[in-house]
Amino acid sequence: MSDETPEPAEKAPSEETLGTGATRRRALMLGAAGAAAVVSIRPALAQTNASLLTCEIPVPDPGRAGKYVAADGSVVAPGTSGAFAPAGRPFKGFEVKQALGGGQLPGTTYEQNQAYVNYIRKLQHGTSGFTCFASLQMPRG
């Protein structure tokens, strides 16, 4: 079936291209298995996927508020050396999705990001943010 419309030269100011020229030798991470990089927008009357992008994961969960997060993701006493202070705000599903794919959580240093991502990976059922995290792991729906 003929379904290809050639891309016309667009005049809309917001129009951009996937151009690769400017990104030569930039780092590209393929990301972890199961961390989807494509979300399809569904009609609002049947929303599932898109809400994942805005669901929230607090680090750590409110039950352990104030505690620090160690490099391996475990929750430790405040002030433990080598561990990181709690995140200033909960992370959105889409931020976590990106971090799982090799990106970085906003407002974090490299090591802090690793620790938080490890924490999120270890989330257990019943912990705040688990449902959001679990949904992110589901392959498209």
Binding site: S14, I41, P43, A44, A50, L53, T54, F94
Partner: protein
């Protein structure tokens, strides 16, 4: 049908047919200052699903050009609500000319503020309160974005106030006109506020959007910028026709997201919300 009423709200014409006089009489009173369409865009029918239900425990079934299955009938005392729900449903399911955003909108100095959010976030209340402070009410439920121009068109239907918001708005707008108080509806107590004369007089004037807010009620006052991708996703989910209008919807929404700043605001009470809105607007 036995009784009929028609009205044009912003750019959209409606025709409502009813088995009963009462809902039509209420619509005639409340929409008295609105124009009539020549040919309506949408039709809503309010009827008795069984003939005797016109008289015995009369219950109003809602139908129209576009329907959701399993919409429960309402008692006749809530016939006005049935009519409004029917009109909203036609917009939500049938609107194809504009990108329809589930958002309230107000205008000042020729620019629009959009307030999007889930039900209960206070969209209608904030829009009504801002209208009491000199903003022009463009609509409390739907904002219509024209894909061709990017302008926001007004849809100033009756403002639907629920539960505690009724008292708050009545206090702020003591001289406004209101519909009957409908207690115990499926959405709680409901009372409709008639948009003021300025809102109706200017409803044909579209304006460019200048700020998008995502209010949430019940938290300490706070405000943060919302990144483009999140605004985009939130608005696709706040739109009932984004997918149905295809590439025009993509163009309209990406343009909106790229050109208009967006912030999420938390507020503990309406007074604080109004102050935050005015401050953010002043800082634009």
């Amino acid at each position: 049908m036995r009784h009929a009423f028609s009205v044009r709200i912003g750019p959209v014409g409606f025709r409502i047919g009813s088995d009963w006089r009462a809902p039509v009489a209420q619509l005639e009173t409340l929409y008295a200052d609105y124009p009539k369409p020549e040919i309506p865009d949408f039709t809503v029918r309010l009827f008795a699903a069984r003939p005797w239900r016109r008289f015995v425990r009369p219950s109003v079934t809602i139908e129209g050009d576009f329907v959701l299955p399993d919409a429960a009938p309402l008692p006749l005392a809530q016939g006005l609500l049935a009519a409004e729900m029917g009109m909203n449903l036609q917009m939500a399911l049938g609107q194809r000319r504009f990108l329809l955003l589930h958002a309230s909108a107000v205008e000042r100095d020729g620019r629009a503020l959009l307030m999007a959010g889930v039900s209960g976030a206070g969209k209608s209340t904030l829009a009504a309160l801002l209208s009491a402070r000199g903003w022009r009410l463009m609509g409390d439920e739907f904002a219509l974005v024209d894909p061709a121009t990017g302008l926001v068109h007004a849809f100033p239907r009756l403002v639907s106030l629920k539960n505690t918001a009724i008292g708050v708005v009545e206090a702020a707008l003591p001289n406004a006109r209101y519909g009957p108080l409908m207690a115990g509806t499926p959405k709680g107590d409901i009372r409709h506020l008639v948009p003021d004369a300025a809102a109706v007089a200017a409803m044909n004037e579209p304006v460019p959007p200048a700020l998008i807010l995502f209010p949430s009620y019940g938290f300490e006052a706070e405000s943060r910028a919302v990144p483009e991708s999140e605004v985009f996703v939130r608005l696709t989910q706040a739109s009932t026709n984004y997918v149905a209008i295809g590439e025009r919807g993509f163009d309209a929404l990406t343009r909106l997201v790229k050109t208009v700043p967006a912030r999420a605001i938390d507020y503990p009470d309406t007074e604080s919300a109004i102050a935050q809105v005015e401050a953010l607007w002043a800082a634009l």
